[in-house]
């Protein structure tokens, strides 16, 4: 009886742990995908309007969202990195992303894009 109860409790705990990791993955994937959509929209804004701030914004958003997510699931597979190294690479990505966004605040003296005669 006791053994049964313990086994059940154990499997419940295991299931809960599994669900937590799945949830972390799903939530992370959702922000990675949304980030990619925002970055892609910003990138298209850059291409369509020749707007450099939008290019930096796109780079910033992708480094804050999509890149860290992808890194967190791939870097230890590829390089067998330690947890600290994974964390460092993700933090470095966040820094890069923020630098890109700060850079995007700089406004060029906007010369109207040349029309083709």
């Amino acid at each position: 009886m006791n053994v049964d109860a313990r086994t059940t409790a154990g499997s419940v705990a295991a299931t809960a742990t599994f669900d937590e990791w799945t949830t972390i993955f799903l939530v992370g994937a959702a922000s990675a995908i949304l980030g990619a959509i925002v970055a892609w929209t910003a990138y298209r804004g850059y291409v369509r309007n020749d707007s450099r701030p939008m290019l930096f914004l796109a780079i910033g958003v992708v480094f804050l969202t999509t890149v860290p997510f992808v890194l967190s699931y791939t870097i230890d597979l590829l390089l067998s990195a330690t947890d600290a190294q994974v964390l460092l690479s993700i933090t470095a990505c966040h820094l890069l992303g923020l630098l890109a966004i700060v850079r995007s605040f700089k406004r060029p003296n906007r010369s109207r894009p040349r029309d083709r005669p």
């Binding site: 910003a42 804004g45 369509r48 309007n49 707007s51 939008m54 906007r110 083709r116």
Partner: protein, 113 residues
Amino acid sequence: MTDDEEDEILALLEDEYARSILIEASDEPMSVDRLTERCDASPPTIYRRIDRLEERDFVESYQELDPDGHHYKVYSTRLERVAIEVADGEMDLEVRRREEDPADRFTRLFEDL
């Protein structure tokens, strides 16, 4: 819409070249080169009409990249429908435009920050 705006829109739509630009660019985005050809007008004429059409958001423009690396602008029609209603001693003009591309709206928002 003020009376002045309505007059301006009616005058713009009365213009033969403005209308042919709207028609040609409603099918696919077009450069000034192609509009000049299709509308059988000089480039300055096309530019002047495009300026007026852009002012009313009847056309939108964006950059296109040539294989040889030169940027040029293409224009596409946003005007969808103009309805004129006359009733109760008043004339009313209603203009409907196609949704602006989210990328362009995002760019405008961010650049205006």
